[in-house]
Subunit: 211 residues, 2 copies
């Protein structure tokens, strides 16, 4: 569990008793919040923003889910079959993580809108197929926000499918510029904000970090 | 690789030719940026902010690194030996991911500053041991930002160790309220910003998602 309660930084100078009292109050608030949160349900999770870590945090959810014996499916909307670390590792986990790289590359790679649309439709139909398969516990639709933003895929179809997804299924949607209606529907939305990027400082994309 | 160039949303109404030209210009900018980034080095990466996904994105980097055959070490500064999905999955990968849960829980759990300090020192000495072992390619110091913020661990020691780390080693530091000197030293800093959290809506922490 990560830290949820608002945090007052510790004062190194405070007495042990004061520290203990303050932390006891904080624990009570935290326990109360956990006690009130009782609903079990599959979450719709969005990772958006211009920063790094959107796809990566989805891969982290997969890492965690595998430890609980959950089955995972990934549909990549813009990435093609190029070798990536994540796809290579997924191949070591047959029947546990299924990777479908359905993209043709970014829109500035293809430079062809009809081809982009056809690829997005194929990816979306794979996504629907996985949502209909009750053996999956967690699905990641990687970079789907991009094809929705570009209207390469219509948002209405995605909203309707998410609204009628199996109740316990978790779905993660990644990509910058998440559509406001997707954000509205989601249970958990994180914006990854770029603070500093090594690309800008002449450092190249590093194997195992960027891909 | 994720999308780095600033994005002008596509206009669905634009002609194919205009789209093709615009994307070709964008690709040229992108290619130029990649060409200029030539330096190979181990990165210092910081995941901070109040949102979800800081630890999770670090787990995602591990997922990706494993696909490239890299060896990974994780030191958890606040989390104890409690069962988590990530620790369970790491146990399936002996010699590839080594997990050290060195914490005693959050400071509002222990309510004892001396015990917090002793735990942080033990975790930090494990971290130093791993940095000195050339067989590791990627190290994650999970929630280290928290113990630095609380001054449970002195920042000067961490800065000195990071400055003299092996050149090709990647180090990821997670936790909210990253210290400004750590941010200054880092190559890549992402702030995870909370947009929407299900805890607040009475939904409990979900197995495989939150832990």
């Amino acid at each position: 569990m990560t830290e949820v309660a608002a945090v007052t930084p510790s004062e190194p100078s405070e007495s042990s008793d004061r520290h203990r009292e303050r932390m006891a109050r904080k624990k009570a608030i935290q326990d109360e919040r956990i006690a009130q949160a009782t609903q079990e349900k599959g979450l719709i999770i969005v990772h958006t923003g211009a920063g790094k870590g959107k796809t990566t945090a989805a891969l982290g959810l997969i890492f965690r889910a595998l430890g609980h014996g959950l089955r995972v499916g990934v549909v990549q909307f813009t990435k093609g079959a190029r070798t990536s670390g994540e796809a290579a590792f997924a191949r070591e986990l047959p029947g546990r993580v299924d990777f479908f790289a359905m993209g043709e590359g970014f829109t500035w790679e293809t430079q062809d809108r009809d081809r982009d649309r056809a690829a997005a439709e194929r990816a979306w139909s794979k996504a629907c197929e996985l949502m209909a398969d009750p053996s999956y516990h967690l699905l990641v639709f990687d970079e789907i926000n991009i094809v929705l933003r570009d209207e390469t895929l219509p948002v209405a179809a995605v909203l309707a499918a998410l609204r009628s997804k199996p109740d316990q299924l978790h779905v993660v949607l990644t990509g910058r510029s998440a559509h406001p209606d997707i954000v509205e529907l989601a249970d958990l939305v994180t914006e990854m904000k770029l603070v500093k990027h090594p690309f800008r400082a002449g450092i190249k994309a590093q194997r195992g970090i960027e891909f």
